[in-house]
């Protein structure tokens, strides 16, 4: 069966799955901007500590940021490999992307655990509440992305993923890169601009 048989395209000549996914990403922009706005509006209004400069670990988060940037690079390399039919490298890059996503999640679990041990929980103060909701929502998106990537990798191992399904990999990539750009903003707004 050719991919043409399962591809639904609009009268505009665009793939409808991709169009729907861009609309979804647009709605996600609104979600994350509302969370970032809430963080900024309540910034500096906590009446009890711990406060951001006392608790945020910039070197550690910088490593997590590099990790997520590199995962985005691997995602596009995976797409390029699948598009040219090089499934050996397609599988390697897909798995590497998922692995770096898992490393990022591990880092976030470590960070959250450390914060809780230092006395910052979601109910401690306004900073804790807005910080955990924002970064936790982002982490949940990363977790979904990792599951999605691992599913694609397993399908590739089963021989069910090839150049004919490149659009599926491209849409997965759109989601993954969006998660990355959200982190680019969070890293700057929450961690670097204190």
């Amino acid at each position: 069966m050719t991919h043409a048989a399962v591809t639904h395209h609009t009268s505009m000549g665009l793939d409808n799955r991709k169009m729907a996914f861009w609309a979804f990403i647009g709605s996600e922009c609104l979600l994350f901007t509302s969370l970032i706005s809430t963080y900024l509006v309540y910034k500096g209004k906590s009446v009890v500590g711990p406060y951001p400069p006392e608790i945020l670990n910039i070197p550690f988060t910088s490593v997590s940021t590099f990790d997520l940037l590199m995962s985005s690079l691997m995602m596009v390399l995976a797409l390029a490999a699948v598009q040219r039919g090089d499934m050996k490298w397609g599988k390697i890059w897909l798995f590497s992307t998922a692995l770096l996503g898992l490393v990022f999640l591990g880092g976030q679990v470590l960070e959250f655990t450390e914060f809780v041990h230092k006395g910052l929980t979601i109910s401690t103060n306004l900073f804790g509440c807005t910080f955990f909701v924002l970064t936790g929502t982002h982490g949940a998106h990363v977790a979904v992305g990792v599951l999605w990537l691992l599913t694609l990798w397993v399908r590739a191992l089963q021989g069910k993923l090839g150049p004919a399904n490149a659009m599926t990999v491209e849409i997965t990539g759109l989601y993954w890169h969006f998660v990355d750009v959200v982190w680019i903003v969070i890293f700057t707004v929450v961690y670097l601009i204190q």
């Binding site: 665009l14 793939d15 647009g26 922009c29 706005s37 910088s62 590099f66 940037l69 985005s72 390029a80």
Partner: protein, 109 residues
């Protein structure tokens, strides 16, 4: 195998372009962290960090998400909610920070 006959297929960048963009992203991140730690940048820290962050955001969206080569309609689908979201954020910040300023002025008066 080809994808759907009349479906528009943009020309995606090569792996070489992806690697170059990756290198630029790493350099911009190093600059961000460097600027954060250099005391001389304190007065201009926020604008510099916002510009660097916007540059990284744009690079990922243009090259890794392929908006540079893809249909303009996808740019519209992404750009309109993004502009709306940024507008709402700026309005909220003005509303809350403005309210604080007015309260402070009233108290002083």
């Amino acid at each position: 195998m080809q994808e759907g006959g009349s479906v528009e297929r943009p020309v995606h960048p090569s792996a070489d372009v992806y690697l170059r963009v990756g290198a630029v992203l790493v350099i911009l991140t190093v600059l961000e962290i460097g600027v954060f730690y250099v005391p001389a940048f304190r007065p201009v820290l926020v604008p510099v960090l916002l510009v660097l962050s916007a540059a990284k955001f744009t690079l990922v969206v243009m090259f890794y998400m392929h908006l540079k080569a893809d249909s303009r309609f996808f740019t519209f689908l992404f750009g309109v909610p993004l502009l709306l979201a940024v507008g709402v954020m700026v309005a909220l910040l003005f509303l809350f920070l403005g309210a604080l300023t007015l309260k402070g002025a009233a108290g002083a008066g």
